[in-house]
């Protein structure tokens, strides 16, 4: 029993993992974990492994190894590895797919983030039309804010941005960061970026990690507890569904 479980454990694990992968691919949620450029390759290899796994169960190759019953410590280690990998496999099919949360955003230093610092250039944006400005993401705005904090530059520009809420450390009651993760490879390298939003007592209406859409303009920071020069002051602020591609690339 022990030896045939060990023999087949890998096939079971790989079947669970690739089934989960294929399902994520079919429901278009693979982008929660990897950059879109790897999606096709990942799904093709997963499908191949799925076929090989089921066929190897069916053919059940003759056991060519003399089974050595593990003893003592190696049995314990083997057992722990089996349980632990089984538990991870279980989470792959039980836990609903999700994005990284604000906990990781603040741990990865949202304020000092330099992601996409060259995504927009102040000189080019100065006279941009409204249509272009409406398409700016939080990454574009935070890149501009890093280049200039001159209020006049922002005076006639309305931001329309979507992101999730990460609480500010300086003035958590009145300021939060509207944040997005930027991904270049997979969720492992996700870098948080965000713009500070001034909304007194936001926590009464909105939860941390909630996805919201905000229209508004950048103004001089009214908060005395935070040393940011400019903050986004919302005109409208509505809770929205998580976008189907929550990460930016």
């Amino acid at each position: 029993m022990w030896s045939s479980l060990q023999r087949w454990w890998g096939v079971i694990l790989i079947l669970v993992a690739v089934s989960a992968t294929v399902w994520l691919g079919a429901t278009q949620q693979l982008v929660l974990y990897i950059h879109p450029r790897y999606v096709v390759f990942t799904v093709v290899m997963a499908a191949l492994a799925l076929v090989m796994g089921v066929l190897s169960l069916a053919i059940r190759p003759a056991n060519t190894e003399e089974a050595v019953a593990p003893r003592g410590w190696s049995r314990v280690v083997g057992g722990v590895a089996l349980l632990l990998s089984g538990a991870i496999a279980l989470t792959l099919v039980i836990v609903p797919p999700t994005t990284l949360s604000s906990a990781t955003a603040s741990q990865r230093d949202i304020v000092g983030s330099t992601v996409g610092s060259d995504s927009q250039n102040v000189d080019e944006v100065a006279n941009a039309d409204d249509e272009l400005i409406a398409s700016f993401t939080v990454v574009d705005w935070s890149s501009l804010l890093r280049q200039t904090s001159d209020p006049n530059f922002y005076s006639n520009k309305t931001a329309d941005v979507v992101g999730f809420i990460t609480a500010s450390e300086d003035d958590p009651a009145n300021i939060f960061y509207l944040s997005r993760f930027t991904v270049t490879c997979c969720a492992v390298d996700a870098q948080p970026t965000g713009v500070a939003v001034y909304a007194p007592d936001w926590a009464n209406e909105f939860d941390v990690d909630a996805w919201v859409e905000i229209t508004g303009s950048f103004e001089i920071n009214p908060s005395s507890r935070s040393d940011l020069a400019l903050v986004l002051v919302p005109e409208t602020m509505t809770v929205v569904e998580r976008p189907s591609e929550p990460y930016l690339y």
């Binding site: 290899m45 997963a46 492994a49 190897s56 003759a62 609903p96 604000s102 906990a103 992601v115 969720a187």
Partner: protein, 349 residues
């Protein structure tokens, strides 16, 4: 494939002919496997609709990160197993051996270039390297292959070029550095008096049985290898990914990044980062791209040379094949050499 299912022509090792029962069994197990997979899909489709299962923020992020490492490396693991099957089962025995030079140094140099034709990253390389040992390569030779191939494989070169172009000698430094490390480590380990003592007991035993096991058809042998390799590799991939995810949640990223601008510290920080994040060599260039402005070029090269060879997930996977002592020596040698390469580039460029 279904036509090959009942064919068990090579079952001569059985004393009695069980063919009818065996083939009925096969259809039974095919059904069990299919139903099992369908059940997984059904469960996943059901749980996928749930809002949440009450996992708090950081734990949920840990699972997301671990899942991300698993999903990112899984296709390369599968590709590695498939190539290992091709090498062990479908290529003529002496094809690879025939053209290799006889002198050990040249031989290892030639082997370190194999990777150019094999689009596998490090986790896929382990099954392939195991296949090469079973095929008759010496342990140091297959180790040379194992270290060089993830760095000079075509996907890695293309993605590194996409990410960095020829700027700052990053691409060239990565390729030459990887080849140098692989050859020097191969030479060092070839001085070992008993190469087979570097292998774990289980794998050494498999090598000993390898060639004179019972006869199987090629399909059976292929699926046998698939079953074996996945049972060895998958627990290692899973556990390695979980540990990598846990450390990322525990260690703030800015601790590493704040060390970025010092020539020496930034190299050590990069090695620590590469060790922890455990992404595959085929995609790590994109991983490190956002840090390119923070870190010095030599430190990026160190990341790109050290990461493919030594990281948490990779150590877990390599432990299936090599003893802990060998892995410790390997880690030290590779760390020292990649740090040297990085320092040279930091001070020269």
């Amino acid at each position: 494939m279904s036509t090959t299912l009942p064919a068990s022509v090579d079952d001569h090792h059985h004393q009695h002919d069980h063919r009818p029962r065996r083939s009925r069994n096969r259809w039974l197990w095919l059904a069990i496997g299919t139903i099992g997979v369908a059940a997984i899909f059904a469960l996943r489709a059901f749980t996928g609709e749930l809002e949440s299962v009450g996992v708090p923020g950081l734990t949920a992020d840990l699972l997301t990160l671990a899942t991300s490492v698993i999903i990112e490396s899984l296709p390369f693991v599968v590709l590695g197993i498939l190539l290992s099957i091709v090498v062990q089962t479908w290529l003529p025995d002496d094809l690879l051996m025939r053209y290799l030079p006889q002198r050990p140094v040249l031989r290892r140099a030639a082997i370190s270039l194999f990777g150019i034709a094999l689009p596998v990253c490090e986790c896929g390389n382990v099954p392939l390297a195991r296949g090469l040992i079973l095929k008759g390569f010496s342990v140091p030779e297959s180790m040379t292959f194992l270290l060089a191939a993830p760095i000079i494989n075509p996907i890695t070169i293309v993605t590194t070029h996409q990410a960095f172009g020829f700027d700052d000698g990053i691409l060239v430094g990565r390729i030459l550095g990887g080849l140098a490390i692989a050859n020097i480590v191969g030479w060092l380990f070839s001085l070992h008096p008993q190469p087979n003592a570097m292998l774990t007991g289980r794998f050494a035993q498999q090598c000993a049985v390898g060639s004179h096991g019972p006869r199987q058809s090629r399909t059976e042998k292929s699926l046998d290898i698939f079953m074996r390799e996945s049972s060895v590799l998958m627990p290692a991939v899973f556990i390695g990914s979980l540990i990598a995810g846990a450390i990322q949640v525990a260690v703030p990223r800015d601790v590493l990044v704040s060390l970025g601008s010092n020539p020496l510290w930034s190299i050590l920080a990069m090695m620590a980062l590469a060790f922890v994040i455990s992404v595959c060599s085929s995609v790590d260039a994109f991983f490190i791209l956002p840090f390119a402005s923070t870190f010095m070029p030599g430190s990026i090269v160190t990341f790109l040379v050290f990461g493919p060879i030594i990281d948490i997930k990779m150590l877990a996977i390599m432990r299936t094949t090599f003893t802990a002592k060998v892995l410790l020596q390997l880690s030290l040698v590779v760390a020292l050499m990649s740090a040297c390469i990085g320092l040279v580039i930091n001070y020269v460029v």
